[in-house]
Symmetry: C2
């Protein structure tokens, strides 16, 4: 008997853990950047856009602004990045900006994600426990063929990870105590917060999420309940 | 082009439309009734329990009490039914009552439901737009193999159908305007309310939901966008 045998629900970090946001956002941005003559490598544009992700959520976490969903933050951050490149985004059609913002809903899964999730789904209920919003997670699941049973996370909890209520309210929403929920993530900080709230922890290493020079999350920084190199290896470890 | 081609999400009534609550609740109640020597046909017990469903939600709809999830109402209604049969439910182990209350999460789909949903899921995002709570809908989906993409409805909206906000907040949560959401239900009143809120309407006739003597919802009472005899017939009509 593993200490994970009593788990009923696996909640997944999605951006970076299940899907490759960097190459997907770069792909979506490429023609946009060319069309507007913005001279930047699309991958670097993706990195710059993403770099505003945590600071923008921090303003919600700290109570400086009420909870808004991630698509709202992503859109604001897009405008900030464009301004940084001296682009007057007000002159770009709103529909075009909205379309680019949808890049976050059209990301490829890592090669092992769909197979791994399919196996995990047979034993556990599975769903995003992500900072993404419900509609975005839904659209992404259709694009990337992610077989979720339910979508919880930031919008359900009206708070952003790593705030404890994001984990605790998600567990409550699926009807389980925290210790019967497993958090699956490629980020040590996410797992550390999940563990403090009583969840089980499954680390899936994604050493190229941030590109070939990634410096963070290359190793498990605590003795997580499971440490795996892929979603299929996590399925092996969990007996699926 | 059908006027449903622009629909992106189908929201389903579940109890009665997708699953057969009456036989499932009766099955779960049978041994309980025998064990406690409660002399009533299990199907009639299911009917009596269910008869308290709408009145209990009415107290939430009217604002007499704050929103509570359906499992809470079902549990209170179970105690009410037991009292009616002069059973002192306080003398029954809490775990046993909780187990019986779980009957609502262990119901068989109608024979055409799983096949129909599987076909509809290829063209649309699908999910419960039910008065059930998220954990209950999740557990039921695992029991009955219902391939939902997402779960919306009462808990997401913190209100019970047919209140407009249940439909409107569910549409908003999946990121679509009401006219791009289709409501699938076996109940004319549900569809009437959905239509008032701007949703498209798909009637699936379930003439034995309430048993062989059912008197309600035997026919479509308005010109719903689709009228079908089964979920697979609905899939046919929607070009899936």
């Amino acid at each position: 008997m593993s200490k994970l045998d009593d788990v009923g629900f696996l909640g997944f970090d999605v951006f970076g853990t299940v899907v490759d946001w960097r190459s997907g956002v770069a792909r979506a941005a490429e023609s946009f950047l060319r069309r507007h003559q913005i001279d930047i490598d699309p991958l670097e544009f993706a990195d710059q856009w993403r770099s505003l992700y945590q600071p923008s959520m921090d303003r919600v976490r700290s109570g400086q602004r009420p909870f808004v969903t991630l698509d709202v933050l992503n859109k604001e951050n897009l405008e900030t990045v464009l301004l940084k490149h001296s682009v007057d985004y007000g002159r770009i059609a709103e529909a075009e900006l909205a379309q680019l913002n949808k890049a976050w809903e059209q990301l490829d899964p890592w090669p092992d994600s769909v197979a791994g999730l399919g196996r995990l789904k047979r034993k556990y209920s599975i769903g995003p426990l992500s900072n993404g919003h419900i509609a975005g997670m839904l659209n992404l699941s259709k694009f990337a063929q992610l077989p979720w049973d339910v979508i919880v996370g930031a919008e359900v909890a009206q708070s952003y990870k790593p705030q404890p209520q994001t984990y605790l309210k998600s567990a409550q929403t699926v009807g389980l105590p925290p210790e019967r929920v497993g958090m699956v993530a490629a980020h040590n900080s996410d797992l550390a917060a999940a563990r403090v709230s009583g969840l089980k922890t499954i680390f899936v290493r994604r050493p190229t999420e941030h590109g070939p020079d990634q410096a963070s999350d290359l190793t498990a920084e605590q003795d997580w309940d499971v440490v795996a190199e892929s979603m299929t290896e996590a399925a092996d470890a969990l007996g699926c």
